[in-house]
């Protein structure tokens, strides 16, 4: 019997405690937590009050380190394809054309002063596939591939999620390819002549352009 009454008593008191808590929150609703970012010293200042942020108008600032949209600074890219190999979800597609000797100046240097040796007709990032793990960024030797803290980049068409960063149009790429072929042919001819003259042949054959591992997605207007 005493258990019966103590049950009722604890029930009433704990319910009253809970109701006091919710009522306190109800009256605290006049205060609002601002949209201070975590790096703000006042971040934990506001303890009570509403914490909703009305998203498109207000948002929690993403930290500068934020790993969201993948961005490639193509001017700094040397076409080493390390990111493509490191990516666990294969969201980066790269095609490279070796720069011919006379074009080296035209191809330019990275901001770090390194000579670029590849044209990049195709450098596609499928950000819809990208899982923002950041492995590609960590392997990039020139730090040209970065995750930007832009978190909201939705599109109505999933095909628009493929970002093209290539630095050659298709026609230019064809021209460069032909040029490379010609140079290679010239080199081979020179090598053959040299071999005919009995000199030691150049040991290594001309480096082939890397075989594209995946069939190239239709990439019109690659690189504007």
């Amino acid at each position: 019997m005493s258990e019966y009454f103590s049950n009722i008593k604890t029930g009433a008191t704990t319910i009253a405690t809970g109701m006091a808590i919710t009522l306190r929150h109800f009256f605290n609703a006049v205060k609002r937590k601002g949209d201070a970012g975590i790096d703000d010293p006042d971040y934990f200042k506001q303890v009570d009050g509403l914490c909703t942020l009305q998203y498109p108008k207000e948002a929690v600032p993403t930290p500068t380190i934020g790993r969201y949209r993948l961005y490639n600074d193509i001017d700094d890219c040397i076409g080493c394809c390390q990111c493509e190999r490191a990516c666990p979800v294969e969201c980066i597609t790269i095609e490279t054309i070796k720069v011919t000797n006379d074009d080296l100046a035209a191809c330019g240097k990275t901001s770090g002063g390194q000579q670029k040796r590849f044209w990049l007709p195709v450098f596609d990032i499928d950000v819809a596939k990208c899982m923002t793990c950041g492995i590609c960024v960590s392997v990039c030797p020139t730090d040209c591939l970065v995750h930007s803290p832009v978190a909201d980049f939705s599109e109505f068409d999933v095909r628009n999620m493929v970002y093209h960063y290539g630095n050659l149009t298709r026609i230019e790429a064809e021209a460069k390819k032909r040029k490379l072929q010609e140079e290679k042919a010239a080199k081979e001819k020179a090598a053959a002549e040299a071999a005919a003259r009995g000199e030691a042949p150049a040991a290594k054959p001309a480096p082939k352009p890397k075989p594209a591992p995946a069939p190239k997605p239709e990439s019109d207007q690659a690189g504007e």
Binding site: G18, F26, N28, G49, L50
Partner: protein, 359 residues
Amino acid sequence: MSQSPSLNTWSEALSGFYIGWLPLGLLIVAAIPLVFIALYALTYGVYGERKISAFMQDRLGPMEVGPWGLLQTLADILKLLQKEDIVPTVADKFLFVIGPVIMFVGSFMAFAVLPFGPAFIGADLNVGLFYAIGIVAFEVVGILASGWGSNNKWALYGAIRSVAQIVSYEIPASIALLCGAMMAGSLSMQQFSVMQAGPYGFIHYYLFSNPIAWLPFIIYLISSLAETNRAPFDIPEAESELVAGFFTEYSGMKFAMFFLAEYGSMFMVSAILSIVFLGGWASPLPNVGGLALNDLTSGPAWGAFWIIMKGFFFIFVQMWLRWTLPRLRVDQLMYLCWKVLTPFSFIAFVLTAVWEIYK
């Protein structure tokens, strides 16, 4: 009892108001509660619950449609109206359709006996309280019809739970209200308010003038939650267990009818509670010395104001409880009803009777 006929003169005068052949007065009388119900259900019921729950949970609630989200409910109703009215092919179509209608009609039928002022009451039945209790039981039919008619396992569970719950909770609720009836010596809703009106305001309320009245008051408050399927007794619709309980299969306007019926019943039980124990339309302000606060705040319009405010307060309490407490289990619900509330309501009944005899 003597003043009861004269009180209705105001509404009778209004109902006798004709323009030509058009009974405009009657139309106005009929329109007042409808307008009130619509406004209440749209504004306070749905919008208020959203905002109150949001504030209790440190959220903002609806903010986008209209200033402070005031038009959100309207937008929701428009959305629900546009939705396809789905009747499952294997459902019992008659029961499926009639269920929400019974719920809706039932919850608003009790408004007929609610006195919204000293001169305004839809039907001053001499068995008004009895009628109001009966109407709550009527809703069970709607729940059972929709739960059974949906041909859905979750809906069936919800309906069975609901019937067991509401029928059980009728008993402590009715006995608690009977305590009030004993205090007033009448079953007429208007009579309750008349008995509790007086120059000292809230002192005349049974809750404060009668030393036992708090017990039936609390018992009715708890069982009214169960009768309207509100948390912590919302086991018929328990969303984490039964998806949506008896209205799992409903969509569109039929769902909206359940929704509005719920808020209708919430106001109904709140109004009954405030009429029986808190004086209905009687002003709570006392006449202090020369300041005749009570007289100033009495009258037809003030009466409507007070009863609606009291009703709103208890609706707030219902929402407050809902957003604080977890849900009971079926057997615990029955334990609370049969082993706690019913014995205590009998005790309250006897004590009230003793008090009424020997006071």
